[in-house]
């Protein structure tokens, strides 16, 4: 359906610098390439490039701001990225719960088998 978009969205948030930029934009409300580069150990040019990636997948919106652009996080698209990560986590939670259930029932079966016999001294 929208898998291609999801891939791009995921690679966009997969980069640690871009995640820190999103953090800064979420806590600060909005920012420009200049204001963000002042808070990060990367150049303004690098920040502008990262902002371009985030903009292309719709994670941020730009509005003209003097000679620069002012960026804000798109709540809806950001929520989508968070939901998708949560979905993968939930899938693993379900799998691990099934592993637990299966292993515990095997263990119970083994314990009740050995419990019916006399201790053979192995343990």
């Amino acid at each position: 359906m929208t898998v291609a978009i999801d891939d791009d969205l995921w690679s966009a948030v997969g980069d640690p610098t871009r995640r820190r930029m999103l953090d800064l934009l979420l806590s600060g409300g909005a920012g420009t390439a200049t204001s963000l580069s002042e808070q990060l150990p990367v150049t303004r040019q690098a920040v502008a490039k990262h902002l371009g990636v985030l903009d292309r997948v719709g994670l941020v919106h730009a509005t003209p701001y003097g000679r620069e652009k002012r960026y804000e996080v798109d709540d809806e698209q950001f929520g989508r990225a968070v939901d998708q990560l949560a979905a993968v986590g939930a899938a693993w939670d379900a799998r691990l719960n099934r592993i637990k259930r299966i292993a515990e029932s095997i263990q119970r079966a083994q314990d009740s088998n050995t419990g019916n016999e006399t201790d053979n001294g192995k343990r």
Partner: protein, 155 residues
Amino acid sequence: MEYASIEREIHVQASPEVVFEVVSQEQHLKEWWPDDATLASATPGTTGELIWGDEDDPRAHVEAMTVVESDPPRRFVFRWTHAADEQAAPGNSLLVTFELTPSAGGTLLRMTETGFREMGWEAAVLEQAYQEHVEGWDHFIPRLGAYADRLVSSR
């Protein structure tokens, strides 16, 4: 490029030997993960399949898996989501690591999945769609189990 990862841990009231079998053997794999699975052995290099489907198409969605490391009953590591004709490697697949540690008469099972990128993402989202219809039960049955454990231990 940094890959994202997911980490989970769960306590299992069973020995590491039993838990290792459940995470690494074909007949158990298909009980906790896909609809069907093939994995001839847990030996490193062995390649198998994780299969999801329905009545119309029992192989609607098939993913390859390759065992990377097997150290019973401590570690089981595999890759999945690589194309069937490709050798599993960083960059074309997700890496799943199970670590088993004896704990409180049972096992602490740690799972880490790393390597989300284009392909892995797609596989994970698709699989989620296939799994959704069973999630309800998966959610409640373990809770019942935990409840039973508490009942037993409070006596």
